[in-house]
Symmetry: C2
Subunit: 220 residues, 2 copies
């Protein structure tokens, strides 16, 4: 089993586990754009290698070893994102795919030196936390924008969906980038659509989108 393929599976499973665990093979197949049969086969192999725990009909879950590898990948991914964004001046909308390739060819040495060079940042351009050298799992802080009530003032902490270029472009256009402060002007009780004010401009944010934006309420 090639390292690259193994890592793509770990990445997919690990990410999916963040919203629900264990992860069904169907979910993996969907997220990876691969057939169910292939995933079934590969998950079994990952299980043989001790990287995932797998019970038929019960889904897959990373073992400690698998999780460690997943966290290391996440660390490398986000360090590269910071480099691409801050030093190479590539927009936060576009850093994901390059980082996703670079992470797989990053040696321990480069990881360490890169972290030092970047001054050990603790979050990526999307606001998500960068695991430390200890590879302890870290969680995204905050609550979903969709759960805020009318009138609430809040700050954007992070964006969950890092790879959707269109979505990130949209967020940039409405001023909802990490660090931005905004107020909920109105929350539709009908379909949950929010009207927010950021940067002096009033914008609508759909409910779907609002669940992918993590925020921190500010008490006035």
């Amino acid at each position: 089993m090639s390292q690259r393929i193994t890592e793509e599976y770990l990445e997919s499973i690990g990410t999916l586990e963040e919203s629900e665990s264990p992860v069904s093979t169907t979910a993996i197949a969907q997220s990876m754009g691969i057939s169910l049969a292939s995933v079934s086969e590969m998950v079994r192999r990952l299980s043989d290698k001790g990287l995932v725990e797998y019970t038929p009909y019960g889904g897959a879950r990373l073992t400690d070893e698998g999780n460690k590898r997943y966290i290391r990948l996440t660390r490398r991914h986000r360090l590269w994102e910071v480099f691409l964004n801050k030093h190479l001046d590539i927009g936060w909308e576009d850093v994901y795919s390059d980082a996703c390739a670079l992470e797989h060819v990053t040696s321990d040495l480069v990881e360490e030196k890169l972290a030092e060079f970047l001054d050990n940042p603790d979050s990526c351009p999307h606001g998500n936390p960068i695991p430390g050298k200890d590879l302890k799992s870290v969680k995204t802080k905050g609550m979903a924008l969709s759960r805020l009530e009318t009138g609430q003032l809040a700050r954007v902490l992070s964006v969950v969906n890092e790879y959707n270029v269109e979505f990130l472009r949209y967020l940039t256009s409405v001023g909802l980038t990490p660090g931005a402060i905004f107020r909920v002007i109105e929350k539709s009780s009908y379909d949950g659509t929010l009207t927010i004010e950021a940067d002096g401009m009033t914008r609508a944010v759909g409910k779907e989108a609002a669940t992918l934006i993590m925020v921190e309420p500010i008490n006035e």
Copy 2:
């Protein structure tokens, strides 16, 4: 045919062509550590894809398209080497292998931004030229150290064998790094071994090693 594998072949063939062209399948097999049969097969496929020109029993040679790809890889490789060496503070002995992996996952955008970030350097830490955006082929300047005569003062321009960590460490230890100035104290007429003086120290350099070091004579 996977991009990664294709690129490793292009790299190997391109590098070998710098000393003799066309390149025999044996030479490729040796340089890549792969069986002769595999190379025969792969070279044929590269030929089908229009990347190499291949005549059975006659060896292989990159086509214009293959050469362009090879030069682009070289450019990316050496840009990464500069980054790793200058910014991440990784020794020139150790940058090769990381760069060799990074080069294959470098997008056009990253290549361009990286070059800008590095201020468009024109040579790698080993002194070898970095091709420009135009992908015109560039040649290493200078002559082999082994061809100098007794008494000659000279400057090290570059080292051909970038991936041999042991060799590079040895060069560091004898002070023969790019830019270093030295004098040939004696050249053995028996086996070509040279005695040189660099940094106030006198050292012996074997003939083999001396053919891999490119230098520029300094007239006094």
